[in-house]
Subunit: 149 residues, 2 copies
């Protein structure tokens, strides 16, 4: 979607290899009124979309610094180092920003299942105009990921 932000507008015609500093970019990312931005996690080698989560500035900085995905948990209202309790870490292979700076795409190497249900991907329902259908079973028992869960 087109942006009204001149920072992103000016980059639309920029040559390949054009650079901006990290600090400049951080100030221009379109965090919403809760300070959050959407982040898609995609398995880097297979292209499978694993999940969609949210980041704030701090979790983005941690992700890039530590080389593994850290999100903002909206349900727990705190930083969420993916895999901190389950071991299902996402090693960061690359991070993309979209054309108007309001979405991130993390290319990751997902260790084990990404989904809290024990499935590889969170997108395990197929929906058409008539019905929703369960596509996958858990790879592992989720209680094995979260202890006494």
């Amino acid at each position: 979607m087109a942006s009204n932000n001149t920072f992103w507008l000016q980059l639309e015609k920029a040559e390949i290899g054009t650079r901006k500093t990290f600090d400049e970019v951080l100030d221009q990312l379109a965090f919403n009124d809760q300070g959050l931005i959407t982040a898609i996690a995609q398995q880097a080698d297979t292209g499978e979309v694993l999940m969609l989560a949210w980041m704030n500035r701090e979790s983005l900085e941690i992700t890039l610094k530590e080389g593994q995905a850290c999100y903002w948990s909206r349900s727990r209202n705190q930083l969420w180092r993916k895999g901190e309790s389950s071991g299902q870490v996402q090693w960061l292979k690359g991070l993309r920003v979209d054309c108007d700076g309001d979405a991130l795409l993390l290319l990751v190497d997902q260790q084990g299942p990404a989904c809290h249900t024990g499935r590889r991907s969170c997108f395990y329902f197929d929906l058409n105009g008539e019905r929703l259908k369960v596509l996958n079973e858990p790879l592992v028992d989720p209680t094995s990921l979260y202890g006494k869960g």
Copy 2:
């Protein structure tokens, strides 16, 4: 992320093939306080993530009924049949819902570039802890997509 919604919780252990009706699902999707839900568009055959956009109930229903992606444009505050002015239609190949019903994944066959800049994907910036870098050039001049733009 785990849901507090019993509808999604009860599906966590459902067998493959378990079904719910479309109307039931529509009532349980976690549209935000603006009535919107995130929708990722992914090229069905290559797995390339093309863009992230938003849908309301109506645009989701139109997408499934018409077999091509229709979003809600937050900047124009109206339904946005992808490609209606540019011809860059997304034919729908499948639609996934995530574990807690707050994100959609559209598997599409993207005609031409997905991005308003004329690039195939909107995610054309690489970001690391030091800099942002432009990865791709437009495939086509965006003014050719939008007329006198």
